[in-house]
């Protein structure tokens, strides 16, 4: 069953829409446009952000080389690097009841590996979406990224965030030209 479809900037209460929700799985998908150049390699990641808008430590950056948060409440479930085939290309599982209280937002991002070297960007990616399904695999909400993001090599697709005692989903669609490292730095992930 298809869930509600949001526009960029809109939000939805996951808790109210799906009262029994305990585990939210964020599914991400895309289809790279056919080009004669090198293959696309897109990666999803999640950042566990506190009230100050920054991660508490680099352990809050969940990506292909660190697939679980410290208490396993957020987990990167896998990787379809080329975007080929039906269904979600990558999924990030959020165990809402076990997310630490000082994490106010889980930011969901997608980046293109070696985008600069390969001269690739999100303008060459179509049918990108972000959706949330519950623990029974029922879709709650969906955000289709429709706009052309030609120069951008990484994008924050969405956020799952606290609002009092409820969890909400926000369709963000914020692009970055600085790739995964740029997003990580923007949310306070320190190198070194």
């Amino acid at each position: 069953m298809a869930g509600l479809t949001l526009e960029k900037g809109n939000n939805l209460s996951l808790t109210k829409t799906s009262p029994g929700l305990t585990v939210a799985t964020v599914g991400l998908g895309w289809d790279p446009r056919t080009t004669s150049g090198e293959e696309f390699d897109l990666d999803a990641s999640a950042l566990l952000v506190g009230a100050d808008g920054k991660v508490r430590s680099s352990a809050d950056f969940i990506f292909y080389n660190q697939k679980k948060s410290a208490n396993s409440s957020v987990e990167h479930l896998g990787d379809n690097r080329t975007g080929e085939g039906d269904g979600d290309d990558e999924q990030i599982m959020i165990d809402l009841k076990n997310v630490e209280a000082d994490v106010t937002r889980v930011v969901i991002a997608v980046s293109i590996d070696k985008a600069d070297e390969r001269r690739q960007n999100f303008g060459q990616v179509r049918a990108a979406y972000c959706r949330v399904v519950d623990q029974d695999n029922t879709e709650i909400v969906r955000f289709d990224l429709s706009e052309d993001a030609a120069p951008e090599t990484a994008m924050v697709f969405a956020e799952v965030y606290r609002n009092g005692s409820e969890w909400k989903f926000k369709a963000v669609g914020q692009g970055y030209t600085t790739g995964l490292a740029g997003i990580a730095a923007d949310f306070g992930v320190n190198l070194g």
Partner: protein, 208 residues
């Protein structure tokens, strides 16, 4: 409201008529496996703020991000030998010559190889790499360019070729500079650092 039944554990007290055995010496606590190998890594200096690896401080460890984003480039290497986690091994030289097997990543790029004069490791797939050895000239330095643009210089005092050994431990890169004592052949240098390149068996060209 019913209350849960609390069962006491069965008593392990020996019968009173038997003499209690002498107390056993205290045992060290059992070691339980940690969730991540990272917690078991021995201490190594972080690369942050360091510009040089040399005989006095030969080891540095990259953080998780520098170990996995972008491309690690090594300037001054004439040859690189690698071993993947599947124990696939091979070599590439700056001259373009290769032996063994090239490990191709999902992005259709070699995991380790040369881009022009620079030896390169594709960090997106760093967990597929077990180790690599960059071989430079005798007494010459190498420059290790990290994805954030910083460069670490690696130099050695020995008479043999300068080498940089790259190890991947739980997704984190550790770099060690050394000097090979035997510079008479590539295979001797490889063997000194424990690399043995398996020859690729070419079924198609085999005479029947």
């Amino acid at each position: 409201m019913s209350h849960p039944v609390v069962r006491s554990a069965p008593s392990r007290t020996a019968p009173a008529t038997r003499v209690a055995p002498p107390a056993a010496p205290p045992r060290p606590p059992l070691r339980t496996p940690s969730r991540s190998n990272r917690s078991r890594l021995f201490p190594a200096p972080a690369v942050s703020g360091r510009a040089e690896l040399d005989a006095e401080s030969p080891v540095a460890r990259l953080d998780l991000l520098r170990s996995s984003i972008g491309t690690l480039l090594v300037e001054g290497a004439t040859e690189v030998v690698w071993e993947s986690t599947d124990l696939v091994s091979g070599t590439a030289a700056v001259s373009g010559e290769t032996t063994g097997t090239v490990v191709m990543t999902a992005g259709n790029r070699p995991l380790v190889g040369f881009h022009g004069d620079l030896a390169a490791v594709t960090l997106r797939h760093v967990r597929e790499l077990r180790r690599a050895l960059f071989v430079g000239g005798s007494g010459r330095s190498m420059g290790i360019r990290l994805a954030d643009g910083s460069v670490v210089t690696a130099s050695s005092d020995g008479a043999g070729p300068t080498v940089v050994l790259l190890l991947v431990i739980d997704g984190v890169i550790e770099l060690r500079v050394a000097s090979a004592s035997r510079g008479d052949s590539s295979s001797a240098v490889h063997a000194e650092f424990g690399f043995e390149v398996a020859e690729r068996f070419d079924f198609l060209s085999r005479d029947t």
